[in-house]
Symmetry: C2
Subunit: 187 residues, 2 copies
Amino acid sequence: MPAPLRVLFAAGHCGEWQIDSISSVIGDSLPGAARLSVRTSDESCAPASEDAAPAWILAGTTSNLRYTTGTEAGALKARQEGLGRPAATRAALIPIRKTQAWWDLAQDERRAIFEERSRHIGIGLDYLPAVARRLHHARELGEPFDFLTWFEYAPEHAAAFEHMVDKLRRTEEWQYVEREVDIRLRA
Amino acid sequence: MPAPLRVLFAAGHCGEWQIDSISSVIGDSLPGAARLSVRTSDESCAPASEDAAPAWILAGTTSNLRYTTGTEAGALKARQEGLGRPAATRAALIPIRKTQAWWDLAQDERRAIFEERSRHIGIGLDYLPAVARRLHHARELGEPFDFLTWFEYAPEHAAAFEHMVDKLRRTEEWQYVEREVDIRLRA
Protein backbone atom coordinates (compact mmCIF):
# COMPACT_ATOMS: atom_id res chain seq x y z
CA MET A 1 0.00 0.00 0.00
CA PRO A 2 1.88 3.11 -1.12
CA ALA A 3 0.69 6.55 0.02
CA PRO A 4 -2.66 7.62 -1.47
CA LEU A 5 -2.35 8.42 -5.17
CA ARG A 6 -4.74 11.01 -6.57
CA VAL A 7 -6.00 10.07 -10.05
CA LEU A 8 -8.03 12.19 -12.49
CA PHE A 9 -10.10 10.54 -15.24
CA ALA A 10 -10.88 13.19 -17.88
CA ALA A 11 -13.19 12.33 -20.80
CA GLY A 12 -13.17 14.50 -23.91
CA HIS A 13 -11.29 14.89 -27.19
CA CYS A 14 -7.86 13.81 -25.91
CA GLY A 15 -6.32 10.99 -23.94
CA GLU A 16 -4.50 7.71 -24.34
CA TRP A 17 -7.67 5.58 -24.22
CA GLN A 18 -10.41 5.42 -26.87
CA ILE A 19 -13.90 5.19 -25.37
CA ASP A 20 -15.93 2.35 -26.92
CA SER A 21 -19.06 2.82 -24.84
CA ILE A 22 -20.54 4.60 -21.81
CA SER A 23 -23.55 2.72 -20.40
CA SER A 24 -25.75 3.30 -17.40
CA VAL A 25 -26.12 0.15 -15.29
CA ILE A 26 -28.08 1.82 -12.45
CA GLY A 27 -29.19 5.47 -12.42
CA ASP A 28 -27.92 8.36 -14.53
CA SER A 29 -25.20 7.82 -17.12
CA LEU A 30 -22.33 10.21 -17.94
CA PRO A 31 -22.05 12.39 -21.06
CA GLY A 32 -20.54 10.74 -24.13
CA ALA A 33 -16.96 11.43 -25.18
CA ALA A 34 -14.39 10.09 -27.64
CA ARG A 35 -11.32 9.59 -25.45
CA LEU A 36 -10.21 9.31 -21.82
CA SER A 37 -7.10 10.71 -20.19
CA VAL A 38 -5.86 9.12 -16.93
CA ARG A 39 -3.53 11.34 -14.91
CA THR A 40 -1.93 10.69 -11.53
CA SER A 41 -0.71 13.31 -9.11
CA ASP A 42 2.85 11.98 -9.36
CA GLU A 43 3.00 13.21 -12.97
CA SER A 44 3.86 16.58 -11.55
CA CYS A 45 4.15 18.45 -14.85
CA ALA A 46 1.10 16.98 -16.58
CA PRO A 47 -2.11 18.99 -16.60
CA ALA A 48 -5.31 17.24 -15.56
CA SER A 49 -6.03 16.87 -19.24
CA GLU A 50 -4.70 18.40 -22.42
CA ASP A 51 -8.34 18.82 -23.30
CA ALA A 52 -9.57 22.42 -23.22
CA ALA A 53 -13.19 21.34 -22.73
CA PRO A 54 -13.47 17.89 -21.16
CA ALA A 55 -16.94 16.31 -21.16
CA TRP A 56 -16.39 15.28 -17.53
CA ILE A 57 -13.62 14.74 -14.99
CA LEU A 58 -13.82 12.27 -12.12
CA ALA A 59 -11.29 12.27 -9.27
CA GLY A 60 -10.37 9.56 -6.79
CA THR A 61 -7.52 8.42 -4.57
CA THR A 62 -6.08 5.03 -3.80
CA SER A 63 -6.20 4.13 -0.11
CA ASN A 64 -5.54 1.38 2.44
CA LEU A 65 -7.46 -1.92 2.47
CA ARG A 66 -10.94 -1.46 3.97
CA TYR A 67 -12.28 -5.07 4.17
CA THR A 68 -9.51 -7.42 3.03
CA THR A 69 -7.91 -9.66 5.70
CA GLY A 70 -4.20 -10.49 5.83
CA THR A 71 -4.88 -13.97 4.43
CA GLU A 72 -6.93 -12.58 1.56
CA ALA A 73 -4.35 -9.88 0.85
CA GLY A 74 -1.66 -12.57 0.62
CA ALA A 75 -3.72 -14.60 -1.86
CA LEU A 76 -4.38 -11.53 -4.01
CA LYS A 77 -0.75 -10.42 -3.95
CA ALA A 78 0.46 -13.88 -5.03
CA ARG A 79 -1.73 -13.82 -8.16
CA GLN A 80 -2.33 -10.23 -9.25
CA GLU A 81 -0.39 -8.32 -11.90
CA GLY A 82 0.02 -4.56 -12.22
CA LEU A 83 -1.51 -2.01 -14.56
CA GLY A 84 0.21 -1.09 -17.82
CA ARG A 85 0.84 -4.58 -19.24
CA PRO A 86 1.46 -4.23 -23.00
CA ALA A 87 -1.05 -7.01 -23.83
CA ALA A 88 -3.78 -5.40 -21.71
CA THR A 89 -5.23 -3.18 -24.44
CA ARG A 90 -8.79 -3.24 -23.11
CA ALA A 91 -9.91 -1.29 -20.06
CA ALA A 92 -13.04 -0.47 -18.08
CA LEU A 93 -13.78 2.39 -15.72
CA ILE A 94 -16.75 1.61 -13.45
CA PRO A 95 -17.86 4.48 -11.19
CA ILE A 96 -20.23 3.39 -8.42
CA ARG A 97 -22.19 5.15 -5.70
CA LYS A 98 -23.66 3.16 -2.82
CA THR A 99 -26.81 3.96 -0.87
CA GLN A 100 -26.98 5.81 2.45
CA ALA A 101 -28.21 2.49 3.94
CA TRP A 102 -24.82 0.94 3.06
CA TRP A 103 -22.85 3.75 4.67
CA ASP A 104 -25.05 3.61 7.77
CA LEU A 105 -23.94 0.00 8.43
CA ALA A 106 -21.16 -0.75 10.92
CA GLN A 107 -17.85 -2.22 9.73
CA ASP A 108 -18.69 -5.86 10.58
CA GLU A 109 -22.11 -5.56 8.93
CA ARG A 110 -20.58 -4.23 5.69
CA ARG A 111 -17.82 -6.87 5.73
CA ALA A 112 -20.42 -9.67 6.14
CA ILE A 113 -22.35 -8.50 3.09
CA PHE A 114 -19.21 -7.66 1.06
CA GLU A 115 -17.36 -10.94 1.48
CA GLU A 116 -19.08 -13.57 3.63
CA ARG A 117 -22.34 -13.25 1.65
CA SER A 118 -21.29 -11.68 -1.70
CA ARG A 119 -17.71 -13.04 -2.13
CA HIS A 120 -16.52 -9.75 -3.65
CA ILE A 121 -12.84 -10.52 -2.94
CA GLY A 122 -13.27 -14.20 -3.87
CA ILE A 123 -14.89 -13.40 -7.23
CA GLY A 124 -12.11 -10.94 -8.10
CA LEU A 125 -9.50 -13.54 -7.13
CA ASP A 126 -11.00 -16.03 -9.61
CA TYR A 127 -10.14 -13.66 -12.46
CA LEU A 128 -6.51 -13.01 -11.52
CA PRO A 129 -4.09 -12.44 -13.08
CA ALA A 130 -6.14 -11.86 -16.29
CA VAL A 131 -7.94 -8.78 -14.97
CA ALA A 132 -5.74 -6.14 -13.29
CA ARG A 133 -7.47 -3.48 -11.25
CA ARG A 134 -6.97 -0.34 -9.17
CA LEU A 135 -9.62 0.96 -6.79
CA HIS A 136 -10.02 4.70 -6.20
CA HIS A 137 -12.08 6.18 -3.35
CA ALA A 138 -14.03 9.35 -4.08
CA ARG A 139 -16.74 9.72 -1.42
CA GLU A 140 -14.70 11.90 0.94
CA LEU A 141 -13.60 14.10 -1.98
CA GLY A 142 -17.17 15.36 -2.47
CA GLU A 143 -17.38 13.55 -5.82
CA PRO A 144 -20.61 12.23 -7.41
CA PHE A 145 -19.42 8.60 -7.03
CA ASP A 146 -18.03 6.71 -4.01
CA PHE A 147 -15.66 4.46 -5.99
CA LEU A 148 -13.94 4.54 -9.37
CA THR A 149 -12.57 1.10 -10.27
CA TRP A 150 -10.18 0.84 -13.21
CA PHE A 151 -9.66 -2.54 -14.90
CA GLU A 152 -7.17 -3.61 -17.60
CA TYR A 153 -7.18 -6.90 -19.53
CA ALA A 154 -6.17 -8.42 -22.87
CA PRO A 155 -8.80 -8.80 -25.64
CA GLU A 156 -8.84 -12.59 -25.16
CA HIS A 157 -10.03 -12.07 -21.58
CA ALA A 158 -12.95 -9.81 -22.53
CA ALA A 159 -15.50 -12.62 -22.04
CA ALA A 160 -14.02 -13.49 -18.63
CA PHE A 161 -14.31 -9.83 -17.62
CA GLU A 162 -18.02 -9.85 -18.59
CA HIS A 163 -18.58 -12.95 -16.46
CA MET A 164 -16.88 -11.27 -13.51
CA VAL A 165 -18.91 -8.05 -13.57
CA ASP A 166 -22.09 -10.03 -14.18
CA LYS A 167 -21.42 -12.19 -11.10
CA LEU A 168 -20.70 -9.15 -8.92
CA ARG A 169 -23.88 -7.39 -10.07
CA ARG A 170 -26.00 -10.34 -8.93
CA THR A 171 -24.67 -10.25 -5.35
CA GLU A 172 -26.41 -8.99 -2.21
CA GLU A 173 -23.79 -6.21 -2.06
CA TRP A 174 -25.08 -4.76 -5.33
CA GLN A 175 -28.51 -4.17 -3.76
CA TYR A 176 -26.72 -1.25 -2.07
CA VAL A 177 -25.54 0.28 -5.36
CA GLU A 178 -27.69 3.27 -6.35
CA ARG A 179 -25.65 4.50 -9.33
CA GLU A 180 -23.30 2.61 -11.64
CA VAL A 181 -21.86 3.61 -15.00
CA ASP A 182 -19.82 1.21 -17.15
CA ILE A 183 -17.23 2.77 -19.47
CA ARG A 184 -15.35 0.49 -21.87
CA LEU A 185 -12.11 1.52 -23.53
CA ARG A 186 -9.28 0.35 -25.76
CA ALA A 187 -5.67 1.49 -26.03
CA MET B 1 -23.76 8.52 9.54
CA PRO B 2 -24.71 11.55 7.46
CA ALA B 3 -22.92 12.22 4.16
CA PRO B 4 -19.26 13.24 4.58
CA LEU B 5 -18.95 16.73 6.04
CA ARG B 6 -15.87 18.72 5.06
CA VAL B 7 -14.46 20.74 7.97
CA LEU B 8 -11.72 23.40 7.93
CA PHE B 9 -9.75 24.25 11.08
CA ALA B 10 -8.09 27.63 10.58
CA ALA B 11 -5.71 28.99 13.23
CA GLY B 12 -4.85 32.69 13.30
CA HIS B 13 -6.18 35.97 14.68
CA CYS B 14 -9.89 35.13 14.39
CA GLY B 15 -12.25 32.36 15.33
CA GLU B 16 -14.72 31.31 17.99
CA TRP B 17 -12.16 29.31 20.01
CA GLN B 18 -9.25 30.74 22.01
CA ILE B 19 -6.10 28.60 21.73
CA ASP B 20 -4.60 27.84 25.16
CA SER B 21 -1.70 25.70 23.92
CA ILE B 22 -0.25 23.90 20.92
CA SER B 23 2.06 21.05 21.97
CA SER B 24 3.95 18.43 20.02
CA VAL B 25 3.34 14.93 21.37
CA ILE B 26 5.28 13.10 18.63
CA GLY B 27 7.20 14.82 15.81
CA ASP B 28 6.87 18.39 14.54
CA SER B 29 4.43 20.81 16.14
CA LEU B 30 2.30 23.41 14.36
CA PRO B 31 2.89 27.20 14.38
CA GLY B 32 1.45 29.12 17.30
CA ALA B 33 -1.72 31.16 16.96
CA ALA B 34 -4.23 32.99 19.16
CA ARG B 35 -7.56 31.67 17.93
CA LEU B 36 -9.14 28.85 15.92
CA SER B 37 -12.03 29.00 13.48
CA VAL B 38 -13.98 25.79 12.73
CA ARG B 39 -15.96 25.91 9.48
CA THR B 40 -18.07 23.20 7.87
CA SER B 41 -18.95 22.98 4.21
CA ASP B 42 -22.66 23.26 5.01
CA GLU B 43 -22.09 26.86 6.13
CA SER B 44 -22.35 27.82 2.51
CA CYS B 45 -21.85 31.55 2.91
CA ALA B 46 -19.02 31.46 5.45
CA PRO B 47 -15.47 31.85 4.23
CA ALA B 48 -12.88 29.29 5.39
CA SER B 49 -11.78 31.88 7.89
CA GLU B 50 -12.33 35.57 8.36
CA ASP B 51 -8.60 35.68 8.94
CA ALA B 52 -6.64 37.28 6.11
CA ALA B 53 -3.42 35.49 7.10
CA PRO B 54 -4.13 32.27 9.00
CA ALA B 55 -1.13 30.60 10.67
CA TRP B 56 -2.34 27.24 9.34
CA ILE B 57 -5.44 25.53 7.96
CA LEU B 58 -6.15 21.82 8.33
CA ALA B 59 -8.94 20.10 6.37
CA GLY B 60 -10.73 16.82 7.00
CA THR B 61 -14.02 15.06 6.30
CA THR B 62 -16.27 12.92 8.41
CA SER B 63 -16.79 9.43 7.01
CA ASN B 64 -18.37 6.02 7.65
CA LEU B 65 -17.29 3.77 10.55
CA ARG B 66 -14.00 2.02 9.74
CA TYR B 67 -13.55 -0.44 12.66
CA THR B 68 -16.64 -0.17 14.90
CA THR B 69 -18.98 -3.16 14.95
CA GLY B 70 -22.77 -2.89 15.11
CA THR B 71 -22.77 -3.80 18.80
CA GLU B 72 -20.11 -1.21 19.61
CA ALA B 73 -21.91 1.43 17.52
CA GLY B 74 -25.09 0.75 19.50
CA ALA B 75 -23.26 1.18 22.82
CA LEU B 76 -21.67 4.44 21.66
CA LYS B 77 -24.93 5.83 20.32
CA ALA B 78 -26.75 5.08 23.58
CA ARG B 79 -24.25 7.16 25.60
CA GLN B 80 -22.71 9.84 23.41
CA GLU B 81 -23.83 13.47 23.20
CA GLY B 82 -23.36 15.88 20.32
CA LEU B 83 -21.01 18.81 19.80
CA GLY B 84 -22.08 22.32 20.74
CA ARG B 85 -23.32 21.70 24.30
CA PRO B 86 -23.39 25.07 26.13
CA ALA B 87 -21.48 23.65 29.14
CA ALA B 88 -18.72 22.18 26.94
CA THR B 89 -16.51 25.27 26.91
CA ARG B 90 -13.23 23.34 26.62
CA ALA B 91 -12.06 21.70 23.41
CA ALA B 92 -9.09 19.85 21.96
CA LEU B 93 -8.01 19.33 18.37
CA ILE B 94 -5.60 16.40 18.04
CA PRO B 95 -4.15 15.89 14.54
CA ILE B 96 -2.43 12.51 14.09
CA ARG B 97 -0.47 10.82 11.33
CA LYS B 98 0.15 7.07 11.44
CA THR B 99 3.15 5.22 10.03
CA GLN B 100 3.35 3.52 6.64
CA ALA B 101 3.60 0.22 8.59
CA TRP B 102 0.08 0.86 9.96
CA TRP B 103 -1.37 1.54 6.52
CA ASP B 104 0.34 -1.54 5.10
CA LEU B 105 -1.62 -3.77 7.51
CA ALA B 106 -4.78 -5.55 6.33
CA GLN B 107 -8.19 -4.65 7.81
CA ASP B 108 -8.30 -7.51 10.36
CA GLU B 109 -4.73 -6.80 11.49
CA ARG B 110 -5.52 -3.10 12.11
CA ARG B 111 -8.78 -3.96 13.87
CA ALA B 112 -6.97 -6.42 16.20
CA ILE B 113 -4.47 -3.74 17.26
CA PHE B 114 -7.06 -0.94 17.39
CA GLU B 115 -9.66 -2.64 19.56
CA GLU B 116 -8.85 -6.20 20.65
CA ARG B 117 -5.39 -5.17 21.93
CA SER B 118 -5.65 -1.37 22.46
CA ARG B 119 -9.36 -0.97 23.39
CA HIS B 120 -9.58 2.32 21.47
CA ILE B 121 -13.39 2.18 21.24
CA GLY B 122 -13.70 0.81 24.79
CA ILE B 123 -11.56 3.60 26.30
CA GLY B 124 -13.57 6.27 24.48
CA LEU B 125 -16.81 4.68 25.71
CA ASP B 126 -15.63 4.98 29.33
CA TYR B 127 -15.58 8.78 28.99
CA LEU B 128 -19.05 9.19 27.48
CA PRO B 129 -21.05 11.33 27.64
CA ALA B 130 -18.56 13.75 29.28
CA VAL B 131 -16.28 13.95 26.25
CA ALA B 132 -18.01 14.55 22.90
CA ARG B 133 -15.98 13.96 19.76
CA ARG B 134 -16.00 14.12 15.97
CA LEU B 135 -13.43 12.30 13.85
CA HIS B 136 -12.26 13.78 10.54
CA HIS B 137 -10.27 11.82 7.94
CA ALA B 138 -7.58 13.70 6.03
CA ARG B 139 -5.20 11.12 4.53
CA GLU B 140 -6.96 10.86 1.16
CA LEU B 141 -7.17 14.67 0.94
CA GLY B 142 -3.38 14.94 0.63
CA GLU B 143 -3.19 16.61 4.06
CA PRO B 144 -0.18 16.42 6.43
CA PHE B 145 -2.19 14.42 9.00
CA ASP B 146 -4.33 11.27 8.61
CA PHE B 147 -6.90 12.18 11.28
CA LEU B 148 -8.13 15.34 12.98
CA THR B 149 -10.12 14.52 16.11
CA TRP B 150 -12.15 17.28 17.73
CA PHE B 151 -13.21 16.92 21.38
CA GLU B 152 -15.53 19.09 23.52
CA TYR B 153 -16.03 18.84 27.30
CA ALA B 154 -16.99 20.93 30.32
CA PRO B 155 -14.20 22.36 32.55
CA GLU B 156 -15.08 19.89 35.34
CA HIS B 157 -14.25 17.01 32.99
CA ALA B 158 -10.79 18.33 32.06
CA ALA B 159 -9.02 15.81 34.34
CA ALA B 160 -11.06 12.93 32.88
CA PHE B 161 -10.07 14.06 29.39
CA GLU B 162 -6.37 13.98 30.40
CA HIS B 163 -6.80 10.43 31.72
CA MET B 164 -8.40 9.36 28.45
CA VAL B 165 -5.70 10.71 26.11
CA ASP B 166 -3.00 9.38 28.45
CA LYS B 167 -4.51 5.87 28.33
CA LEU B 168 -4.76 5.95 24.55
CA ARG B 169 -1.16 7.12 24.17
CA ARG B 170 0.08 4.10 26.14
CA THR B 171 -1.62 1.56 23.84
CA GLU B 172 -0.01 -0.66 21.19
CA GLU B 173 -1.94 1.31 18.56
CA TRP B 174 0.03 4.45 19.45
CA GLN B 175 3.29 2.75 18.45
CA TYR B 176 2.02 3.37 14.91
CA VAL B 177 1.62 7.14 15.45
CA GLU B 178 4.47 9.08 13.87
CA ARG B 179 3.16 12.61 14.37
CA GLU B 180 0.75 13.98 16.94
CA VAL B 181 -0.02 17.56 17.93
CA ASP B 182 -2.28 18.45 20.86
CA ILE B 183 -4.14 21.78 20.64
CA ARG B 184 -6.20 22.88 23.65
CA LEU B 185 -8.89 25.53 23.42
CA ARG B 186 -11.63 27.33 25.31
CA ALA B 187 -14.81 28.99 24.11
